[in-house]
Every structure is written in structure tokens, then in C-alpha cells.
Amino acid sequence: MEQTKYLIAGCSHAALSALNSIRMLDQDGSLTLVTKDDHLPYSPTVLPYIVSGQSKPEKVKLRDDEFFAQNKVNFISGAGLSTLDVDNNSVTLQNGQEWQYEKLLLATGAAPAIPPIPGLTDTPYHVLRTMDDAVNLHAALESAKSAVVLGGGLIGMHAAENLIKVGVQVTIVEMRPQVLPGYFDAEAAKIIEQTFIENGVAMRIGNTVVGAAPDGEGAKVSLDSGDEITADLLLVCTGVAPVISYLEDGPVETDQGILVNDCMATNIANIWAAGDVAQAVNFYSGEKSVGGILPAAVEQGRIAGMSMINDPAINPYPGGVPLNTYGFFGNQAISVGVSDENALPKDTEVLLNVNEEEMTYQKILIGEGCLLGISGINTDFDPGIMWQLVLQRVDLEPVKEEFLNSPTDTGRDLMSRTWR
């Protein structure tokens, strides 16, 4: 059985962030990074650009062999976790290797959640979560003239835009009454939907798919409205679910994902979890929920790594905050924190500023003098500063007027004073 001090399962943002934290204090402790993928580390976020051809797979690697050599990282690709034996502090990999660890980080991410649509399993469809998915989809575009995208979340919207830009006729089907729920309210979503329609995307919002079937080389989907859509390509982007199958019937506590405390530790000694696989506390509700947000994965990975190395500078995880930057057809939509006041107490102040002609939108939510959320389309603010204002519950009462007039300048002023 092979031995390693640190074993990190997964190699995207949470894993690399934890690696970074560990190497800050322990440059020599043996560290092994295992991933089921056959590629050097990459981000799922970049995949829509691979699909469109804007980026090439070999250009978007987050780390390379030189980095692993410099940082004394034993990188094993093409071998995900197969089983975990917590009593023995050991794992088996899909390639049959057995590894014993002192400390284990589970950063195995998430995989597409496939909805139980009758006939779907017999229908050829694409998903977009791994590099191989993206390369396959990119190749399929050569012959495809039309596509149906199931799901109006971030990945679906991104993919749809990149498909239409290479000349594919696209239809988006979203079950819920708006696109991008959780990040933007209905009004902002409307602006985004409208832009998609203007750019030639067919939007079927509030429609449920009730059936799918093969149609020649392509697919045919039936909607609850009775309509049927046929397309050369079917792309399923209906969300993701944490990859936790290797934990089945084991003692590591899971719900939707792996349950972690505010240092990303699981209920089992020597095991941590971070990123899309983890179910960590939410900043607003205090409840544990799965996130799937890149900056949250980085943050959780950082804290997990610090906890694994006993870094005395560690601060507990403040809780997940919805964060999103979303570019579409040359526009920029950004949201930090809550975007829908209906989820907040009644006395929440809502400051809305919409200019339909210029296609700008900005909403600021303030409760008890603190920023609860800010979202905007084609407006100006620094999301990183806003995130900190939310987390640190910075009192905005003394500067409220200025903040509403210019969240950018006021945010920078507050930031510069607070972090000088």
C-alpha cells in the first residue's frame, strides 16, 4: 500500500486552493492529487468556451507538470476514488492502487444531474461538465444545425450562447418561470431572456419536458404544452449533484453533499471536504446547502487546506453567499448575495434602478444597515468588495446616500479604509 501525508481527491478549484494552503506551511510533506479525469487540472467554468472553439483544451490548464514537480505533488490522473476505508485511513483508486493517507480532502466535485424524463436514457444527449464532454460537443457542432438545451442555468445559458455564435439554431427549455434563478430576480432575468431572443435563441421558459426520443441522428423532446422540438443536438444542463457514490454505506455523513463544519472537516477524523461536493453552511440561513459556486470552492479549499495543516491563521468559513458574474452577448451581469427580496424579511430596503433603453439594471438590498445583496446588468461595482461588505456586515448607514449613488467609489473608499 502506498503512503502519503496529504491525499487530495479531485483537482479543480477547491483541490488546488487547498494544495496552495498546505504548501504555504509544509513544503515537503508528501502530497498526492488524484483525479478521475485524464487531463491536467482545468475548470468546468471554462468548458463553454471550449465548445465554441474560443479556447483550446491545451490552453486552459490551471497547473502543469512543472508546477507539480516544483511543489512536490504526486499527480495521478485517470483514477478517481473507488472506495474509502476510514478505519484504515486508506482509499482504493479506480486504477486499483491503494493509498494510505494521514489527511484526506474530498474535492470530487459534482456531476450532471439527469432528470427522470421518460425516454431520455434511450435518446442521444450531451452534457457539459468535463473536458471530454466539451470536446465531444465541440466535435458534434460540425454536423449539427440545431440544438435543444434543457435548463436555463449558468451552464445552459453559456452553452446556448456559444452554440448560436457558431451558427447553430438553439432552443432553451427552462422548467422554472425565469432563467438564472437564485442569482437574478425575475425582472433582471427578463432582460437577459430578451437579449437571447433578440440574438435568435428560442426561449421556452416555464415549460417542462415530458418526454424524449431519438430522431434520426438527433433527438425529439415533447413539452408539457404539447409542443415537440426536434434538433440535431440535445444538451442536458439541468443542474449538478455532488459526486459521493464512493461514500455509499460508509460512515462519512452526507445529505445532498458531504456535510462539513466551518473548517470543512467531515464527521470523520482526518477527512475534509470542499467545493461542489461539500454541503457547508449558508451565510444567510445558517443551514447547510450545496453550492456549486467557483469562488466558494476556492474559499472552502483554502480553509480546508489551512485546517489540514493546522494553520494558526485560519478563520472559520463565514458561510456561502451566492456570487455570479455572467457575460452574455457583450453584456455583463453580476450578482453578489441575495437578489430576490421575497426571500428576505419584509423591512428590507430595496433600491432599484432600471433603464430599459440603455439596458442597465441595478438592485441593492439593505437590511439593518448592512448590504444583503447587489445585482446589476451593465452597471459598475466591484463584486469582490461587495462580497466583503456583505460578509463583514459593514455598516452602510453613514454612507448610504453615497453608496446608492456610486457603489463603486463608495465601496473602494470603504475598502481602502478598512483594509489599509
Binding site: H13, L16, S17, N20, M24, Y42, S43, P44, T45, V46, Y49, Q54, S55, K59, V60, K61, L62, L294, P295, V298, G301, R302, L323, T325, G327, G330, Q332, I334, V336, N378, D380, D382, P383, G384, I385, W387, Q388, P398, V399, E402, T408, D409, T410, G411, R412, D413, M415, S416, R417, W419, R420
Partner: protein, 452 residues
């Protein structure tokens, strides 16, 4: 040893919001004067009128923008310290801007991509354009990198008091000077902390000796003449305190200076005999508490002003005279270079102000802050003198902070009454006026301003 990086420092108290830095940045980086394209942003402060704040990439050691980047377009260059952005790899997702709590990487809607400071390859345009000195390119890291590689010539574990920066000074100084030197450490803290050794073992890796308090300069002069006679070029270094320099050691130093003996004499001035129980010296400042100038019903600290030793040495027409403070290491290093060159020709004298946490009653972690405030209030002025070039300030004496901001940091001034404070304010002004007059009379810069 880790690698350290130069930084752009922002002195908020000096910024008048003119915005020249933003114009220059936009021109340098985007070829337009439109400050929309500036990588650094000066914003008016809401908290105080006529006060400004800065948003600028801090080139973090552990940058979150890099960890947030999904396309590998942001990296940390550990050699230069800069976080460069690769436009070709960028997919314009803006997740980097979520990671930055400083407004250091921002989306430029007009350009259609993010932008950030790249430090202009180590020669930042903004700093050069700043008319008030609010932006500073701090090169201390360069010093750390360059000198950290050189051999430390003292043993580990010298027994200086906690927070004393004399140890920092002597280690840095001797790393720079190197091992072809003889060091004299007369009675005082530097000898006392173990540089001359304990129990027959030396505390340094080079020849070091312990002269009397009175004869440091004479002994070095003799040793130097002997080395000259046998044809060896060896640097003579005195690491002396203020007592061994301005009081008991003065006649031998004055004689050596007058004769032009070749040596580098460094006076580490902690304003008293701190090693032997914090007695007053000729260098103790007016109003200071010491064990021999106590504070009670009749006496309220020292009743005389300190001797202005560096000025006295300047009047000896030494090859080189300069004052220094360890809060300004880059300034000290430049002066050390000049002093070493001058010591080959004759007397080079460096007067380094060195707060004593124990004797001045300052918290051990605030020594550097005391050093800094001493200079920023003009209580200590940084200047250099050479016979051919006259006197030149190396840190502006314009717009000093109130001297109280310096005095309030030390327990030894806690008892000061208004009359004593006024006396100190007046003497600080008088000393600066004297030096200014001397500068005008002796230097080229001074001659130019007189001509106007």
C-alpha cells in the same frame, strides 16, 4: 530564504486627489488620457473632506484572483511578484473581480475586458508622476533579496532587548561590508549584546575588539595605518553607541576626523547610556526621562538639549557624514555605499537614530513606528554631506507632522508640560532651519534656489 517583492505604497495623508497618477497610468497602459482606463483609482473619502483613498492591485502573495481564474490567464510570478494577466487566455468571465477585495482587478466596459496593474516592469509610471509623494515605490524587498543572500557575520542569538533594531542594523551593515573588515565595538549595547563574545568565544565571524569607551577612533586609526603599511586594504568599522561617541569617545573621534583617518564610524544613537541603566548622555534629548534625569517635584526630565553630533562631525569636514533611520532602509543602504567609498579616503561618519524600547519605554513592536514618526515629524532629519557636494536632504522636511505624534509614542516623554513641548517644537524648527540654511549655502541645489 523566501523571495520578497517591491511594492507600490500609498501614503494617504499626502494625497491631494490631483489624479495625475490615473492620467499617467491610462496613457502608459492604454495610450489615452481618459482615466477610465487607469489601473489605479483614487476615490474621494466620505469620512473626511479633502481626503482620498486608493484602489490598486496589491500583487498579493497569495492572490485570490489567480485561484478564481478558470482559464489560467492569471498567474503569480514569484520572481517579480507581479500577478500578470494574459489577454489571450482570458475568457472575460470576471470571476477574478469576485476574488479581489481591493478593487485591484476591474472590468473595463469600454475595453471589454478586465484590467490590472502590472507595476510597469518595476518602474511604475504612477509613482514617478505623483507630485506629493503619496505614491512610493518601496524597494525594501530588493534589499532583503540582495543582502539576504550575503553571509551574516554575527553569531545567531545575540542578546539584544526585545524590539531593539540595533541588531538588525549591525547584521545588515556587516553583511554589506563583508568579512574584509575589523570591527570595534566600545562599551555599550552593541558590545553588551554579545558581538565581542562571551567566555572567550567571539560573537562575530570577523576580527572584533572591545576598545575603551574613550579610544575607539584612535585604536581603529592605528590598526588602519598598520594594515596600510603592510599593503592590505581592510575596512575599519566602529559600531559605537552615543555615549562612546558624543561624550567619552569624543576627543579621539574628533582627532581622528580632523586627521582624516580612514574609517567608517557608525554611531547608533539611542539617546543615553541604555546598556548600563539608562543614564543621560550628551545625546539625550531635552525633556527625556532617564535614571539620572528623573521626573519628580523639582526635575522633569533632562533640562538641556542634545548635542547635534552629525552637524559637529560635518564641521570636521569629514569625507562623508549622513544621518539615517532604520524605518528607511533603502535610504540607509544608499548612504552606507557612499560611506564605504568615503572611508577609503578618510573619515566617514553615519549617525543612525535607534530608539530603545527598554529605556524609552516603548512597546517592543513599535520601534519601527517610532523611527518613522521621528522622521515624519522632523524630530530627526535625514540628510547627507560631502565636502564637494554640500548638504542634501534625503527625506523632505516640508509639511512635517506635529512633533507630539512622535513624542506621544515614548514613555520617556509622558510627563512633558506645555512649556517643555514648546521648547522641543522650537528646537526642532531651529535645527531644520539651520540645516536648510547650510544646505542653501553649500549645495548645488541650494545655490540654484538662492539664485531664484
Amino acid at each position: 530564504m523566501g523571495h520578497s517583492h517591491n511594492t507600490i505604497a500609498f501614503h494617504q495623508d499626502k494625497c491631494d486627489g490631483c489624479g495625475e497618477c490615473m492620467t499617467v497610468c491610462a496613457e502608459a497602459k492604454s495610450g489615452t488620457a481618459d482615466t477610465l482606463h487607469s489601473r489605479l483609482k483614487i476615490v474621494p473619502s466620505i469620512a473626511a473632506n479633502d481626503s482620498f483613498e486608493l484602489a490598486l492591485c496589491r500583487q498579493c502573495g497569495d492572490p485570490k484572483c489567480v485561484l478564481n481564474c478558470p482559464s489560467g490567464s492569471l498567474t503569480k510570478n514569484h520572481k517579480t511578484g507581479v500577478v500578470p494577466w494574459d489577454a489571450e487566455k482570458c475568457v472575460d468571465c470576471l470571476l477574478c473581480t469576485v476574488g479581489c477585495a481591493y478593487g485591484g482587478i476591474t472590468y473595463n466596459a469600454a475595453a471589454g475586458h478586465v484590467m490590472k496593474c502590472d507595476m510597469c516592469d518595476g518602474d511604475p509610471a504612477c509613482v514617478k508622476s505623483c507630485p506629493t509623494g503619496a505614491l512610493e515605490y518601496n524597494r525594501s524587498a530588493e534589499i532583503y533579496n540582495n543582502y539576504g543572500e550575503l553571509e551574516d557575520l554575527f553569531v545567531p542569538g545575540l542578546a539584544a532587548c526585545q524590539g531593539c533594531n540595533s541588531e538588525l542594523l549591525i547584521r545588515h551593515t556587516m553583511r554589506k561590508i563583508g568579512s574584509n573588515a575589523v570591527v570595534a565595538t566600545p562599551p555599550g549595547c552593541i558590545a553588551g549584546m554579545g558581538t565581542v563574545g562571551f567566555n572567550g568565544k567571539t560573537g562575530s565571524k570577523i576580527p572584533v575588539f572591545h576598545p575603551l569607551l574613550t579610544n575607539t577612533a584612535s585604536m581603529l586609526a592605528g590598526a588602519k595605518r598598520y594594515y596600510n603599511r603592510i599593503g592590505r586594504d581592510v575596512t575599519m568599522v566602529a559600531l559605537a553607541g552615543d555615549g562612546g561617541t558624543v561624550d567619552a569617545g569624543f576627543q579621539s573621534l574628533s582627532g581622528a576626523a580632523e586627521r582624516g583617518e580612514q574609517m567608517l564610524y557608525i554611531c547608533v544613537d539611542n539617546e543615553g547610556y541604555m546598556n548600563t541603566g539608562m543614564q543621560r548622555s550628551g545625546s539625550t534629548s531635552f525633556g527625556s526621562w532617564t535614571s539620572t534625569t528623573p521626573v519628580g517635584e523639582t526635575l522633569h526630565g533632562k533640562t538641556q538639549d542634545a548635542k547635534n553630533m552629525p552637524v559637529i562631525m560635518m564641521m570636521h569636514n569629514c569625507e562623508y557624514v549622513a544621518t539615517a533611520s532604520l524605518a528607511f532602509m533603502d535610504d540607509y543602504y544608499e548612504k552606507l555605499d557612499k560611506a564605504l567609498a568615503a572611508a577609503k579616503r578618510g573619515m566617514a561618519y553615519l549617525h543612525v537614530y535607534s530608539p530603545c524600547p527598554t529605556g524609552w519605554r516603548i512597546p517592543s513592536e513599535s520601534t519601527n513606528e517610532v523611527c518613522r514618526k521621528a522622521v515624519e515629524t522632523n524630530f530627526v532629519t535625514l540628510w547627507e554631506f560631502a565636502p564637494d557636494e554640500g548638504l542634501r536632504f534625503t527625506h523632505s522636511t516640508d509639511d512635517p507632522l506635529p512633533v507630539e505624534e512622535y513624542l506621544n509614542l515614548s514613555g520617556k516623554y509622558r510627563h512633558l508640560d506645555d512649556a517643555q513641548l514648546t521648547h522641543i517644537e522650537n528646537s526642532v524648527e531651529r535645527k531644520v532651519a539651520f540645516l536648510n540654511g547650510f544646505m542653501l549655502a553649500t549645495s548645488d541645489d541650494g545655490a540654484e534656489s538662492l539664485a531664484q
